[in-house]
C-alpha cells in the first residue's frame, strides 16, 4: 500500500516538473487557498487568522458518555451482585463476579439504548462481550500460572534436582524429581532424534516431490494429528510393550507417534511459504533437485523448521497419558531408557498428585512447576527463533 503510493507520487513528480516550472514563471500565482475562497465565501473566516484546527484529530472510540455508562453500570451491577450474595447466601467469588458482570451488562445495554438505536446498543454490548472474552482468557492463564507458582515454589529446593523418591516415605521430608528429570530428557530426546529427520523428509516428500504416496500420507497425517494421546500410548503398548516390559524407549515411541504428524504438518506449511521463484532460480542454474532442497530450500526454511520442532517438543514434554502405558514410571533413577520402567516429570506429578498427603502434593506441584518452566523456556525459545528469522528476512528485503 505505502510502496505503491510512494511509487505513484514519484511518478507524479517526474511528470510534474514541466508543469511546476511553468507555474513558477507565471506572472500571477494564485495561492491555492484563494481559489477556495472563490468557491465558497461563507467560510471566509476560516482562512483568516491562524490556521485553526489543522491538527490531526483521531477518531475517539469512547465518548465521555460511554465512560459514564460503563462506570454507572459497573456500580449498579456491583450493587445487584452484592445484594444477591446476601439474599441467596452465596459464598463463591466466581458466582458473585458472574452476577456482577451479567447485571452490569444489562444496565449498560439499557443506558446505551437510551442514547442510540438498538443496533448501536447491540454493537456496544458485543464489543463489551468480546473484550471480556479476551480478558477472560488472559485471566485464566494468569490464574493458572499464579496458582502453580504459589503452590510449587515452597517445595522446590536444590534437593529436588539431586534426589529421587526411592527412599522417601509419604511422611518423610526430602526426596525429589531427579529420576523424573532424567527420564523426561531421555525420552523426549530420543523421540526428537527420530521425529525430526522423518518429519522433515516426509514434508519434503509431500511438498517438493509429491509422489504417489502423497495423498495417502497426507490423509494419515491428518488422521493422526487428531489422535488422542492416550491412544498413542495404547498403540505402542499393543505393538511393543505387551509381553516385554515397560521402558523409557517405549515412552519415546509414543511421544514420536504424537509429535510426527504435528511436526510434519508444520514443516510442510513452512515449505509452502518459500517462494517458487527461489526453487526455479536454483533449478535454472542447473542444480539437481536434491541439491536445491538441501542447499536452498531447507536452509531458507531452517528457522521455521526449528520453531516447529521446538513447539513439538514443548507439547511432548507435558504428555502424561501415553506414558502411563509405556514408560510406566518408577521411584528411582533409571538412566537406561532401554530397560525397565522409567519415570518422567508428568508421571512423577501424576503419581503424587493423587495421594492424600500434603508433603506428596507439595512435591507434585514442584514437579509441575519444573515441567511448566521447561515448557515456557521452550515456548519462548521458539518465539525467539521465529521473530529473529522474521526480522532477518525483513532486513534482507
Amino acid at each position: 500500500m505505502t510502496v505503491s503510493k510512494r511509487r505513484a507520487s514519484r511518478e507524479d513528480r517526474v511528470v510534474d516538473l514541466p508543469a511546476l516550472e511553468r507555474v513558477g514563471s507565471a506572472p500571477v500565482l494564485a495561492p491555492t487557498e484563494e481559489l477556495h475562497l472563490t468557491t465558497r465565501s461563507a467560510h471566509q473566516d476560516l482562512f483568516e487568522g491562524p490556521p485553526s484546527g489543522d491538527r490531526p484529530r483521531r477518531r475517539r472510540k469512547l465518548t465521555p458518555e460511554d465512560h459514564a455508562a460503563t462506570i454507572l453500570s459497573m456500580l449498579a451491577g456491583g450493587a445487584v451482585a452484592l445484594t444477591l450474595r446476601v439474599l441467596l447466601d452465596q459464598n463463591g467469588i466466581l458466582g458473585t463476579l458472574l452476577w456482577w458482570y451479567l447485571s452490569a451488562l444489562v444496565v449498560f445495554y439499557i443506558l446505551v439504548r437510551d442514547r442510540s438505536d438498538t443496533e448501536g446498543a447491540l454493537d456496544r454490548i458485543v464489543t463489551v462481550l468480546i473484550w471480556s472474552a479476551g480478558a477472560l482468557v488472559a485471566a485464566v492463564l494468569a490464574w493458572m500460572l499464579a496458582f502453580l507458582f504459589v503452590k510449587g515454589i515452597p517445595a522446590l529446593t536444590g534437593g529436588f534436582f539431586t534426589h529421587d523418591m526411592s527412599t522417601v516415605g509419604p511422611l518423610t521430608p526430602g526426596g525429589g524429581g531427579e529420576h523424573a528429570l532424567i527420564g523426561t530428557l531421555e525420552q523426549v530426546g530420543l523421540a526428537t532424534i527420530v521425529v525430526v529427520p522423518v518429519a522433515i523428509l516426509t514434508a519434503v516428500y509431500l511438498h517438493e516431490i509429491g509422489g504417489r504416496l502423497a495423498r495417502p500420507v497426507r490423509f494419515i497425517v491428518d488422521a493422526m494429528s487428531g489422535l488422542p494421546s492416550i491412544i498413542a500410548g495404547l498403540l505402542v503398548y499393543t505393538v511393543w510393550v505387551d509381553g516385554r516390559s515397560f521402558s523409557g524407549v517405549a515412552g519415546a515411541a509414543a511421544l514420536a507417534v504424537l509429535m510426527l504428524p504435528t511436526v510434519t504438518r508444520a514443516s510442510e506449511e513452512i515449505l509452502r511459504t518459500i517462494p517458487d521463484t527461489l526453487r526455479e532460480g536454483a533449478l535454472a542454474l542447473g542444480a539437481p533437485q536434491w541439491r536445491l532442497i538441501v542447499k536452498v530450500v531447507i536452509p531458507t526454511a531452517m528457522a521455521g523448521l526449528v520453531t516447529a520442532t521446538i513447539l513439538g517438543i514443548a507439547r511432548a514434554v507435558g504428555e502424561t497419558a501415553p506414558m502411563l502405558l509405556t514408560a510406566f514410571g518408577s521411584d528411582s533413577v533409571n538412566t537406561n531408557p532401554f530397560s525397565g520402567p522409567q519415570s518422567d516429570l508428568p508421571l512423577f506429578v501424576w503419581k503424587l498428585i493423587r495421594l492424600p498427603n500434603a508433603s506428596q502434593l507439595e512435591r507434585a506441584w514442584s514437579g509441575a512447576l519444573v515441567l511448566v518452566l521447561l515448557v515456557l523456556v521452550l515456548f519462548v525459545a521458539a518465539r525467539y527463533v521465529a521473530t529473529r528469522s522474521q526480522r532477518k528476512l525483513r532486513t534482507t528485503r
Partner: protein, 333 residues
C-alpha cells in the same frame, strides 16, 4: 508439485545438450543423487504409513479377547464393567465422554469465537501479537496443569455456581440432582468447563485464520452501508467463515473426546451414563484407560484396548471430517 516443474525445467537443458555438451554432464551425474534422495524421502514417508497399518492390526487383535468375552453387540450397548466375570460394556462411558465434550463445546466455542474476533477485529494492533502468543501458550501448556488447576482451584469456585444452577434452573432435567445431598464436585460439569478452556486455543486459531481471509473490501462495503462493527461481523464475516468455524469447532470436539489427564484428575469415574451433569461421577473412556490400565489384569487390559479402539474410531471420523471442512473453506476464499 515442484517435481513436475523440475522436470519441465531440466528437459530443455537436455535438448540443448545435443550441441553443447558442458551443461549436460552435471545433470546426468547428479540424477543419481536425486534418486537416492527421493528414495530416502519415500522411505521416511512410508514409515508413518507402515506404523499406522501395523498398529491398527495390533489394536484389533489385542481387543479381541474382551470383545469375545463380552460379545461385540453387548460391548457397545451395555454399561457394565466387570472384568472378573468378563463383562464389558462401553455405552455409558461413551455417553459420559460425549456429555463432557458437549459441555466443553458450550464453554469453548463461544469463548474461542469471541477470542478470534477480538484478535482480528477489536484488539489494537499492538496487542495482536501478544494475544496470539497467549493463545499459543495456552495450547502448549500440559493438560496435567489444566487438570490440577481445575481440581484444586477452579472446582472450589464452580461448586457454588453449580449449586445455583441446580437451585434455580432445575426445570432442565440434566441440572437436577438425584438426591438433595449429592456432592457437586468431581462432576461432568467441572470437567467439561476445564476441557472447554483447553480446546479454546485450537478453535480460536483455526477459526481466526479462516475469518482473516474475508476480503477487506467486503468489510468496508458493510461499513459504508452504515453497518456497525457488529453488523459487519454478523452479515459478512460470520457467513464467510461459517464453514471454517464449524470445522474448527469439530476439531475442538475431537480434542475434547480424547482428553485424558485433565478429565481423569477431576472426575470420579463411573461406568453408567450420568446425565445429572452437576453431580459427582462421570464417565470418560480416555480417563478410564489412564486410571485403570496400570493395575488391570490381562482381560481388563484387553477390554480397555477395545474401548480405546472405539474412542480412536470416533475421534478419527470427527477430526477427518473437521479437516475436510476447514480445507474446503480455505480453498473457496
Amino acid at each position: 508439485m515442484i517435481g513436475e516443474r523440475g522436470g519441465v525445467l531440466t528437459r530443455p537443458i537436455e535438448i540443448d545438450g545435443v550441441d553443447a555438451d558442458v551443461p549436460i554432464r552435471p545433470a546426468t551425474r547428479l540424477t543419481s543423487g536425486d534418486r537416492v534422495f527421493r528414495t530416502l524421502a519415500t522411505a521416511a514417508t512410508s514409515f508413518s504409513l507402515v506404523i499406522v497399518g501395523i498398529t491398527f492390526v495390533f489394536l484389533v487383535n489385542e481387543s479381541r479377547p474382551a470383545l469375545e468375552s463380552a460379545g461385540v453387540w453387548s460391548f457397545f450397548t451395555t454399561s457394565v464393567w466387570n472384568p472378573t466375570v468378563g463383562k464389558f460394556g462401553v455405552l455409558g462411558l461413551l455417553e459420559g465422554t460425549l456429555i463432557i465434550s458437549a459441555i466443553a463445546m458450550v464453554v469453548g466455542v463461544p469463548l474461542a469465537l469471541a477470542m478470534a474476533l477480538f484478535i482480528n477485529e477489536y484488539a489494537p494492533s499492538w496487542l495482536r501479537s501478544p494475544l496470539t502468543s497467549i493463545i499459543d501458550l495456552l495450547a502448549a501448556l500440559p493438560s496435567l496443569l489444566f487438570g490440577m488447576w481445575g481440581f484444586f482451584a477452579l472446582q472450589h469456585q464452580l461448586v457454588p455456581v453449580a449449586k445455583f444452577l441446580t437451585g434455580h434452573f432445575s426445570v432442565f432435567p440434566f441440572l437436577q440432582l438425584t438426591r438433595p445431598t449429592a456432592t457437586l464436585a468431581q462432576s461432568s460439569f467441572v470437567a467439561g468447563v476445564v476441557v472447554g478452556i483447553m480446546i479454546t486455543p485450537i478453535i480460536t486459531s483455526v477459526s481466526r485464520d479462516v475469518m482473516a481471509q474475508v476480503p477487506r473490501e467486503q468489510c468496508e462495503g458493510a461499513l459504508a452501508l452504515g453497518g456497525t462493527r457488529w453488523g459487519m461481523i454478523r452479515e459478512v464475516i460470520l457467513p464467510f467463515g461459517r464453514n471454517g468455524i464449524v470445522g474448527a469447532s469439530l476439531l475442538g470436539f475431537g480434542r475434547a473426546l480424547g482428553e485424558t489427564i485433565a478429565v481423569a484428575l477431576i472426575i470420579s469415574p463411573v461406568f453408567q451414563a450420568n446425565t445429572h451433569i452437576l453431580e459427582r461421577g462421570a464417565g470418560s473412556i480416555a480417563a478410564l484407560i489412564a486410571v485403570r490400565f496400570g493395575e488391570a489384569g490381562q482381560l481388563e487390559r484387553s477390554g480397555l484396548i477395545a474401548a480405546g479402539l472405539a474412542l480412536f474410531l470416533l475421534t478419527l471420523v470427527v477430526s477427518l471430517v473437521a479437516r475436510r471442512i476447514v480445507a474446503r473453506s480455505a480453498a473457496v476464499r
